[in-house]
């Protein structure tokens, strides 16, 4: 097991698409995404269901080393500031297999 950071983001699907591109630029190679998130935040209620992508929210989880996590957060913060959403980081032990 190796130490790693888990970054979790919930944001509008359209913004997440942009975030993923930002991620790839800071060298992140692995992420997972779950669509159909609903909830409530500063922008009011969001719905899970709509055929219009820009009206749905999305969850992404990135497991990566601490340095990458920091770069990722720097890249993603302006997007969160502008469009809303939430981003949290936590410590995890990653099962190591090569």
């Amino acid at each position: 097991m190796v130490k790693a950071k888990k970054v979790e983001i919930i944001a509008n699907y359209m913004d997440v698409r942009v975030m993923i591109k930002e991620m790839e630029q800071v060298g992140i190679k692995g992420y997972s995404m779950i669509r159909g998130v609903s909830g409530r935040g500063k922008h009011g209620k969001s719905h899970e269901e709509s055929y219009i992508d820009s009206m749905t929210s999305c969850y992404i989880m990135v497991v990566c080393p601490e340095v990458q996590a920091e770069a990722l957060i720097v890249a993603v913060t302006p997007l969160l500031k502008r469009f809303g959403g939430i981003c949290v980081v936590s410590d995890v032990q990653q099962v190591d297999f090569k």
Binding site: M14, D15, V18, K21, Q25, E49, A75, V76, L79
Partner: protein
């Protein structure tokens, strides 16, 4: 020819339009009704394929084929650009809206609303008014140019503002890379958006296969159109009502302007379409393209290219104002006008 009230009532009291209001009331009365996400997405694929395949099958039969469509495509392009430019300047000058939001709203007004298109087709069907089936296929020729025009205008406006302010610290550095998109990327993205892609793709299929050999598929795509449209408009009602709520914080002048722009675009579209030789039905479909406000391709492009624009504003306006107006009032007016001109 129909009396305007008759048309309005026929339209208003048709099942699809009433399903729209069923959706609206569901939100107002806090019903837990919702159209399941995957069903909604499936419904859109079906409806776009249905329109596309019929358009293709008709063009296959037309004298001149695709070539005959060319002047209309050009007209659609000019409409897309002009509506966008006019809207942009009205929004900036009259409503003093900032460049980004003006750009996004203008994109929405200039681009195409698939739901408006479908209601127009359904209205013509229920009045048994024929129309040139290729007109819906003009969709992308109006949609993409409008989006590109709007982004250019919005960016130009932001640059001008910034140079006036001499902003020392760019607030959104992280966005710069992604913010600048090439023209070709924007065109490709608005053409490969799932709805537009299915419309164009099934148009080509209809064109290749031809009407005789499409009998079985046509029965499926045509026979179910009306029913599936009811379910689609139920969802549109839910979306419109929940979006309209968010509009309350916004300049109240947006309401009359949105309606005015729809009416003017629609009316102008009827005139031009008729003078180009389209039947009254075809002119109404063209007017639906022009008057409707986009809420699918536009937000996708705006989140990337004019990210400073507030989605509540342009989505709320397109879904909560322009669409219901066109559905209930605009389309019957355009039809009346088209029939008047055709006499």
């Amino acid at each position: 020819m129909y009396n305007i009230w008759d048309v309005m009532l026929t339209n208003f009291f048709s099942a699809p339009v009433l399903f729209f209001f069923l959706g609206v009331i569901a939100v107002v009365s806090k019903s837990d009704l919702s159209v399941p996400g995957d069903v909604g997405r499936g419904v859109v694929i079906f409806l776009m394929a249905s329109i596309g395949i019929r358009a293709g099958a008709e063009i296959a039969q037309m004298e001149g084929g695709l070539l005959a469509v060319f002047p209309f495509a050009l007209t659609a392009l000019i409409f897309g650009i002009s509506i966008t430019a006019t809207s942009y300047f009205l929004l900036v000058k009259l409503l003093r809206i900032d460049s980004a939001n003006a750009g996004a709203l203008a994109a929405s007004f200039g681009a195409v609303s698939s739901a408006t298109l479908m209601v127009a087709i359904s209205l013509l069907d229920s009045l048994r008014v024929t129309y040139e089936k290729f007109v819906p296929a003009l969709y992308p020729f109006m949609d993409s140019p409008a989006i590109i025009m709007a982004i250019s205008l919005g960016k130009w406006g932001i640059d001008r503002q910034n140079s006036l302010l001499v902003s020392s610290s760019s607030p959104a550095k992280g966005l710069e890379g992604s913010g600048r998109k090439k023209l070709s990327t924007i065109i490709v993205e608005s053409l490969t958006n799932s709805g537009v892609y299915v419309l164009l793709g099934s148009l080509v299929i209809g064109l290749i296969v031809g009407p005789e050999r499409l009998e079985r598929e046509m029965k499926f795509f045509y026979g179910m159109f009306r029913g599936i449209l009811c379910i689609f408009l139920l969802e549109m009602g839910i979306l419109a009502a929940s979006r309209l709520k968010e509009l309350k914080f916004v300049s109240p002048l947006i309401l009359p302007l949105a309606i005015l722009l729809a009416l003017v675009s629609g009316t102008l579209a009827v005139y031009v379409a008729t003078s180009l030789g389209l039947s009254p039905g075809g002119a109404v479909v063209f007017a639906a393209l022009a008057a409707g406000a986009s809420y699918v391709t536009v937000p996708a492009a705006m989140r990337v290219s004019l990210p400073e624009a507030n989605p509540s504003l342009y989505l709320g306006t397109a879904l909560g104002i322009t669409f219901p107006f066109n559905m209930a009032i605009g389309l019957p007016v355009y039809l009346q006008l088209a029939q008047y001109l055709a006499r």
